[in-house]
């Protein structure tokens, strides 16, 4: 795995070997060049040997309607009338953003089911996936999907198998208009800067790069004509962060809870040591007959005082 050193691994408290200095890769999706042809969708399915079922048309161009274990990327179409009343057809390729701070990895309870490579790829390893779906809970972009076939989580791998041997991801290679490009994250940012200049020259004043730092930046970035309103693009989150709920759940609460439980046990232990148990002293040497007590079986009495001796459990 020389080209695929791992820098983070789900549910693993120790640090994996990651001393090599590797350049981060990134996929840049230029929505202003995208024609929504779905070539990337098809190339992804072809390369990854995925065949989603033939669905229905629901009166939109979005097909399939949503990501699934067999659809790792898809086009989302939005008809938007801009301020001057001109129609814009905003088309966004949706899929895993490969966050620098991946919520899925943070949430995953199974060691090695989610790994983050030094080049930035966040990959799922179904061998270790237990299908709990915590990754979905953790993802700020709502990307992973659990297969109903094998109950394991799937998503875009950024073609880690292709990148490992020095190739670009399948969607990048196929993109007819060059709306998807791939390279070092630095180069991609530079490319984006050029595109933004061109877009501004065409009247898109708010054109910009989408590389949200709420998740530490992403290794899939967008060039948007309206970078000020990412939500226009089929609800691309404006300031994505790992949900505070998830942060609480998989953050401090984990060690604190364990600590508290341990503390409780210790507290008991020392209470026992210092104060000791409560015993019935007179149990040790039985006292003589106490006349104050009537010769009655209390158990029977418990059950039916009005009918002595009716029923009751045998003495041990």
């Amino acid at each position: 795995m020389a080209s695929q050193d791992i820098i983070a691994r789900s549910a693993t408290t120790t640090l994996p070997p990651s001393v090599r200095q590797q350049e981060e890769v990134a996929k840049l999706i230029d929505t202003s060049k995208c024609i929504g042809c779905k070539a990337c969708q098809v190339a992804c399915s072809e390369w990854n040997e995925l065949r989603d079922e033939v669905g229905h048309s629901l009166g939109t161009y979005d097909n399939p309607q949503d990501l699934s274990a067999e659809t790792w990327t898809l086009m989302r179409f939005t008809e938007h009338e801009n301020t001057v009343g001109n129609l814009e057809w905003l088309i966004r390729k949706d899929g895993c953003m490969h966050c620098a701070d991946p919520g899925c990895l943070k949430a995953c309870p199974s060691p090695g089911a989610i790994i983050q490579h030094a080049n930035g790829i966040v990959d799922f390893n179904q061998d270790h996936c237990i299908g709990c779906g915590y990754c979905i809970t953790g993802c700020p972009f709502n990307i992973p999907r659990i297969s109903q076939k094998d109950h394991k989580a799937y998503k875009c791998t950024l073609c880690s198998d292709r990148v490992a041997v020095g190739l670009e991801p399948a969607c990048v290679k196929t993109c007819p208009t060059g709306a998807i490009v791939f390279g070092s994250k630095a180069d991609m940012k530079e490319h984006a800067a050029e595109r933004i200049v061109d877009l501004k020259s065409r009247g898109f004043e708010q054109a910009g790069l989408y590389d949200p730092d709420g998740v530490g930046g992403t290794h899939v970035m967008y060039v948007l004509h309206h970078a000020d309103q990412p939500q226009l693009y089929a609800g691309l989150p404006n300031q994505p962060v790992i949900s505070p709920l998830v942060g609480l759940w998989k953050g401090m609460s984990k060690p604190l809870a364990l600590l508290a439980m341990g503390a409780a046990v210790l507290a008991g232990f020392f209470h026992y040591v210092r104060i000791g148990p409560q015993r019935i002293e007179d149990d040790e040497h039985p006292a003589g007959k106490d006349p104050s007590v009537r010769e009655v079986d209390p158990a029977v009495h418990v059950f039916d005082p009005s009918n002595p001796g009716a029923q009751g459990e045998d003495r041990p």
Binding site: P111, H117, P176, G178, L258
Partner: protein, 196 residues
């Protein structure tokens, strides 16, 4: 089960010991290898081709299993754009990117079939039977309906009762042979898919 002090100490000790072992990560040592899927084209055989769909004529590389040795039936497992091609430069559109499913489409025809008049099903036939049958039909019709001279007695040598629709994606070689053969029969009801 009354514990006395001594017994309790034992239990507590074991408990703590267990949990501290856990804290040390008594889980099996994590395996860091085999994280990335094996690259499937490592030794696939490459063949250059051209996309059969639209007229951009994108270059393709077809990857097939086996090294074309005598004992291997080449099976195409993946198709990708040809990065050297000046027009598509490695890219493919949604149709081209899915070519693998065209080659392996469940709708591919496997052997000659005949549907008899009025029948609601196909019956499989051999190539010889199919071709002989077509030859009979053609010869009979041509001999019956060939026009050598028109009303004015001009030599016209045409055959109008049988027509031929040529393809739109067959190779120049196939097209040229088709034209050569069809004209030699004297056919004029000859056309291709240029308009639709």
């Amino acid at each position: 089960m009354d514990l006395n002090r001594r017994q309790f100490f034992k239990v507590a000790a074991i408990g703590l010991g267990g949990s501290s072992l856990a804290a040390l990560g008594m889980a099996p040592a994590p395996a860091f290898a085999e994280q990335v899927r094996h690259f499937k084209l490592a030794h696939a055989h490459e063949t250059r081709n051209t996309c059969p769909y639209c007229s951009v004529g994108c270059g393709l590389i077809m990857y097939s299993q086996g090294d074309a040795a005598k004992n291997v039936a080449q099976n195409i497992i993946h198709i990708e754009g040809d990065a050297d091609h000046p027009v598509n430069r490695g890219t493919l559109c949604p149709k081209g990117a899915g070519l693998l499913d065209f080659i392996h489409s469940p709708s591919r025809l496997q052997y000659p079939q005949v549907r008899k008049p009025g029948s609601s099903e196909w019956t499989r036939v051999s190539w010889d039977d199919a071709l002989d049958r077509i030859t009979d039909l053609m010869k009979a019709d041509r001999d019956a309906n060939f026009v050598q001279k028109n009303a004015q007695g001009q030599t016209v040598n045409r055959w109008l009762t049988v027509g031929f629709l040529a393809a739109s994606a067959s190779s120049n070689e196939a097209g040229y042979m088709t034209h050569k053969v069809v004209r030699s029969f004297g056919m004029l009801g000859f056309d291709n898919q240029a308009r639709v």
